[in-house]
Symmetry: D2
């Protein structure tokens, strides 16, 4: 009978059956780290495997060369599983080391574990497809190849293009140090570059002829720091000076640039604060007789957590159990902790969840369902969650205490422990998706919850229509 083939045990069995192939995919991606919007080889690897499994491929989704959708099946419901595969600059590192040892000096590396993320999601999609095939079950499963999570958010462009509009539920995960179903919301975010142009002059001979773009950058920052008192306490505004106008003190800086990130639990609030930041930039330009050009470089919506889906996912993870770490896994994790992680690292990674976990090396349990606070970070999964009920989990792939975006994470990215965490995530997503297929009530409840949450407000992409991913790619070069 159909239900049997979608049962927890059946799905687990199908994930296990193909786990080795997708661990191998993850390891290949790990060795070819590609930056945001440039994940051409990584995408080719994913598509090759999914085409081989019979998925129909749509490329160039949302106008991005490295975004694609792979679909299998007919009829409804349609379940989406989201994958990512972009790496980070400057994090190249050899595998399994306990010291910083770049594989290529200055090269990119998978410092956020997206090699696992993309492959684990693909594994879930393929296992689910195999169940549909075996049972002749109606419904579609889609794998979303989402580029550039680290650089402004590929999913927001895909969402803007309507790529998630006909989904009934979506699932995602992230490699982490703990096992948990996410119940937190996140901040909506807007990213922008503020580019000031002034007039150069010799800073010793003719400073009065110069109009300093660096002055403008600094005065904008001063203005923003004054604004902090007068913005909602839960908003966040932070910046980097991404071009300080040159290294020579003796030239008045004719060009300078800062990059801002503005966040708030609500997109509209973030937009209000961002509008004030723009005014401050204009004020700084006025003060310095420079001109300013503002470029939106990204944005994402806050995550709307979906309790209906979370409850099912939690129950499945509870039944699946934690990754089966073995002695070698513990040994390496212990050594890494001794040599390359600080107590502060360990505390930072568990404090907000369960402080007693600081005594563990690898997480062999499951956190209880949380209370739905706001995580102050941001993710482009937020955009998907405004369109379709979405649930996410974290699984333990790395030693407790491993910070994100570090060589310590990269070096663990293709070890057995990471594979085990990835397989758990694939099982958690595939079993929950299977539950949605066999029990339409879950989707109905989840959709009702989403409608209540949005209050009927349709999804609105935080990235203005005139900004295209092409702009960003051009900029990055």
């Amino acid at each position: 009978m159909e239900n049997d083939l979608l049962s927890l045990d059946e799905i687990i069995r199908r994930v296990d059956a193909k786990a080795a192939d997708y661990c191998a995919l993850s390891d290949r991606i790990w060795t070819m780290p590609e930056l945001a919007f440039e994940e051409h080889r990584s995408v080719a690897e994913h598509i090759a495997m999914l085409e081989h499994e019979g998925f129909r491929i749509t490329r160039n989704v949302g106008g991005m060369a490295t975004a694609f959708v792979a679909e299998y099946g007919e009829g409804s419901p349609t379940i989406g599983i989201l994958g990512e595969y972009d790496a980070l600059p400057g994090l190249a590192q050899v595998s399994g080391a306990i010291e910083h040892k770049p594989s290529i000096e200055g090269g990119p590396g998978h410092g956020c574990g997206h090699n696992l993320l993309g492959s684990g999601s693909a594994l879930a999609a393929v296992a689910l497809k195999d169940a549909l095939v075996a049972g002749g079950i109606k419904g579609k499963v889609r794998y979303y190849g989402c580029p550039a999570e680290e650089a402004g958010g590929g999913k927001a462009y895909m969402a803007r293009a309507g790529a998630f509009n006909d989904l009934d539920a979506a699932f995602c995960w992230h490699p982490a140090v703990l096992n948990e179903v996410l119940t937190e919301s996140s901040n909506a975010a807007i990213g922008a570059r503020f580019c000031f142009t002034g007039r150069a002059a010799h800073a010793a001979v003719d400073p009065h002829l110069g109009r300093s773009a660096l002055d403008a950058v600094e005065l904008m920052n001063v203005g923003v720091n004054y604004m902090r008192e007068h913005m909602p306490s839960n908003a966040r505004v932070h910046y980097a000076i991404t071009n300080a106008g040159g290294e020579a003190p003796n030239v008045v800086q004719a060009y300078a640039e800062s990059t801002y990130s503005v966040r708030s639990p609500d997109l509209t609030d973030a937009e209000h604060v961002f509008a004030r930041v723009k005014k401050i930039a204009e004020g700084a330009a006025l003060m310095t007789e420079t001109s300013v050009n503002v470029q939106i470089i990204g944005g994402c919506s806050n995550v709307l957590p979906n309790q209906a889906l979370q409850d099912v996912m939690y129950e499945n993870m509870r039944r699946i159990g934690p990754p089966a770490f073995d002695g070698a896994d513990y040994e390496f994790a212990q050594e890494l902790r001794n040599k390359a992680l600080t107590n502060d690292d360990v505390l930072a990674s568990v404090a907000a969840k369960d402080i007693s976990l600081r005594d563990k090396i690898l997480h062999d349990g499951l956190l209880p369902l949380g209370g739905g606070q706001v995580d102050m970070g941001s993710t482009d999964v937020g955009d998907v969650s405004w369109i379709v009920p979405t649930s996410q989990c974290f699984t333990a792939c790395f030693a407790i205490g491993t910070p994100f975006h570090t060589w310590q994470l990269v070096t663990q990215g293709n070890l057995p422990a990471a594979h085990k965490g990835m397989i758990l995530a694939a099982k958690a997503m595939a079993t929950t998706a299977a539950d949605c297929l066999r029990n339409p009530e879950i989707i109905l409840r989840a959709k009702a919850e989403l409608r209540k949450h949005t209050g009927g407000r349709p999804y609105r992409c935080p990235i203005p229509p005139e900004v295209t991913p092409g702009d960003l790619r051009a900029k990055a070069t």
Copy 2:
């Protein structure tokens, strides 16, 4: 013969004849210190004496109730002698003391010696008139009663109204610690208030609802301090926060105000810098979501020194000799210096002129003619000097080391030494004016020099036409 009556000795004799009356006038003015634009009683005292001498009085010159012109004689040339009589806030002090002892707590006082200035100039005008009368000499002598030197410059309004247009030469002086003919230029200046309006809120409970006008004042100051690198080195911009928006930290300041002074050796340059300061104010308003209102509160032109007149005045002062200070004068000055003046005070008062004078208590000599540098300060005599050849002198009325705008100066303002300095100034102005009357060549040379200096540019008042002295009076209340 006519010339005899205008000779140095004759003029000196006539000044001495009426010196006691005008020292008494000065002492009366000293006891009734009145602030800028409010010098009603002081003006009445001056007018009473000049009317008694037969001068024709024109009141309300330039739209100011405390500005007047007193004229005597017929035909040309017309010689102007400029007087002032406004006091300063908070400087009330008893006479002849060697410690700070306010006559009225917090009351005004003649901290710049304008009681002497106005009376000494009147004495010069009257002595000159007496010579004209005695000799039946053609020509007019005018006393200009100029209000509010300390607050934005009454002479600029009088100049704007054309009050100096038909003069052939003008003379002025200032009570000081040294005897000298002024050869320095001064800075043109523009004064303005920047008034910011925001929105109040409880600073602990609802700071995000507030828009701080004090933030705007501070950010404007930050912006101006950044501008300093990029303005001409010889410009000067300085400010006071004249309303910080209240004393309670727990209220977001809804209103705040700063007062700026912008100076440059050239009025046009000062205006350029001022235009940038205004942009910075607008930038600060934009940054803080407040609004700003800019009020010009005063302005004056740079002094155009006139060598033709200076040479004559210097020769006269050399012949007249220094004030005849006596033992009592020295004794008090010495005691004041011991008890109430610092070495820094003494150095500050002589360093730029002749450092060796620090060893003197009272100045019993005459400085040589200087080289025509720019003094960075400003005076509304500058406006007169753009219209008519003008010469000024300083005379020693106070102990060397006495700073301006202090109780130490007030306390000496009606002592015999001060009277002696004032009488010297009256003689220096009256004899030089007499030389202009007897020798038309001097005026021709002086006018040619002025024409050369201005290059034909007509006088332009630094105060915009829409700003009237009435505005300022209203504000001061």
Copy 3:
């Protein structure tokens, strides 16, 4: 029987019996507004009435001439009722007006309704005393005359001196626009003056010789605004420039001063932030070659709300019912709202509680018990609440929308509506105190709750031992 005399009805009757006398006291205090630490006549008026009622008076409590305790009765328990009577500068206003009309230009006024506060508390204490007398009941009632709530907190000094140590329960109230029992905590706060000394110079002639204390004040503010990003979101830091160094832009400011308030829900956190603010002040002094002197001018602890007492007080207020406003009360309130209150005022006064109350003119209901959030403001009742279980209520004395610290509040301070609110407060406090006397269980529960809340940490006064109220009084002069 004893209990009868402490019943709600009996206490209400006794309050009503003496209400007129204490409304008259309140009106007298209203006409003699005295600033913090200077409430000599107000104290004399209170003491006269309480002595007349047989209370024993202790003066100079905590070293303050205007702090006193009035006690009646013997044995335990001991119930404290807290009163205040200080006014605010600049708020003098005639009664019952709908426009700003100072009774004395620039004079003080009861802008926070402390005339009502002190008299209403006294009324409660006297009514309770009358019940003790009538029934021969054991127990003590104390009235605490607490000075200077508006200026650094008299209660913190009284607490430091041990004045509340032997109390069993304490009650307080505040005149307001709504009727409610307070369940919110408040922020601990530290207040300080930062006094910078530099060196004066003529800002146009010798600016390089000056060291600007105003620059130091501004740079400290800039530094603090940069710190905001890096302090806990729930901390509050705000400031006023309380001496900007003079009104003349042409003098480099040799002295300048700012006043800071630092708050946090926890005193230790506030102290941490304050320590950073001090470092910033020192950094600003270093940057400007000025020196800084830091003076703590006040501090108060966060309020520990006590649910045991709140529940009793709420039930009593529910039974007593709202003030019986009549047509004339509504008429004036309506007119004031039309002419002198804005929609924003109205919203601000009800938004955090019950937005639907914006449609009311006077509050004729009772807010439900709240959930115990943190109110970001601060009060020196916090210090009392760390020592003894304390409960507070607000009662409607003023038109909805009336902001605190405004002439609009002063003008209503002696009207019939204000009296009605005050009488309600007296009843709420006296009946709840009576319940504590007849039911020892309440006090036991309240004390256990307090112990749990503090976790055994003893009360620690936020004002350092070396700071005395005398310092502040001296400063204020």
Copy 4:
């Protein structure tokens, strides 16, 4: 007779004889641009040619691998000719182009014409040597190979090591757009890096845990901009942010760095201002709870112009005449001006000297001797000029309007016009040096003038003893 061989015509002849060899050297250096302290191949090329001419080579002068002295002759006097050969980062450019066309993307280039400078000086030294040889004349000629003019000043280290102590006169030149003998002084300068270390944190999640080093850099800049009002008007302070702490707004910047340059016409004044800048840096660290490390990275003394030598050099340049530019030279210069230079560029290059030269394309004249003002720029020739009488000239090598440190200059660096300017400079230096050899009076006058100028103060190196060039090299890597 000996004098004949040192005559202007003889020296000119000898320069012309070897000009082609040294133009070829200059062109080779142009093709191998090496950055400061890394000029190994350039030095090898120079040494090879000078050894071939019989010069004795001393390497590693002042502890720098790329500093050397090449000496020829015996006895006194000893004449030094100074050369430089370091290039600038990022200015790689093909030759003879009228648009920006990097030869190697991002590579270095001779943007200050030091390929010409080093070779032209070597040409002068060799021609002088040839004259000494031919005439058997007593005296020594030295070529100083001075590294790193663009990075903190190699000559200051050489001066500190005593390399110029036994010289009798020194000559230098710089490729430019005009022909002139330099009579201006220059500013003493101190360069330093301010390195701030704080603590990283996620800027959205835990900003209160971060301590921003970028905040410290910005607050230091704010503090310095406030200091500007209170430092001498002729001092100069400017900065670049040389490490802004990363490109990611979402990480609190744990490290950041700025580079400052402090200048004044007098070294002691520069040191005073620099001490204040250091205090400001410490203040910024205190404000932000970061730490700061200050590294002096260079310094140079002000130039003491020597009129005795200038007069001789001017007369020689007048007699030699301007470079003989031909039609092709003008044609290219005209095209470059049309396509790649702005009117502002042209004005900037001639305004301070002779505004009428804006109508010329190449300078075919000689500027009159100037009046000895202070040029606000700085050069390490200043250090030499404190030890030995020194004279410098500029010669026209580039189109009028060519700014320094641009591709427009690089592209002209090996064209015939540049060679012609270089040959003129070699002649100006060699003839003037020859005059010193034949007329000991010149050296006596020059030395007396230098003694008068320094007032007996010995040379003091602006770089502290503990800073070595090795430090800088290490840093640059």
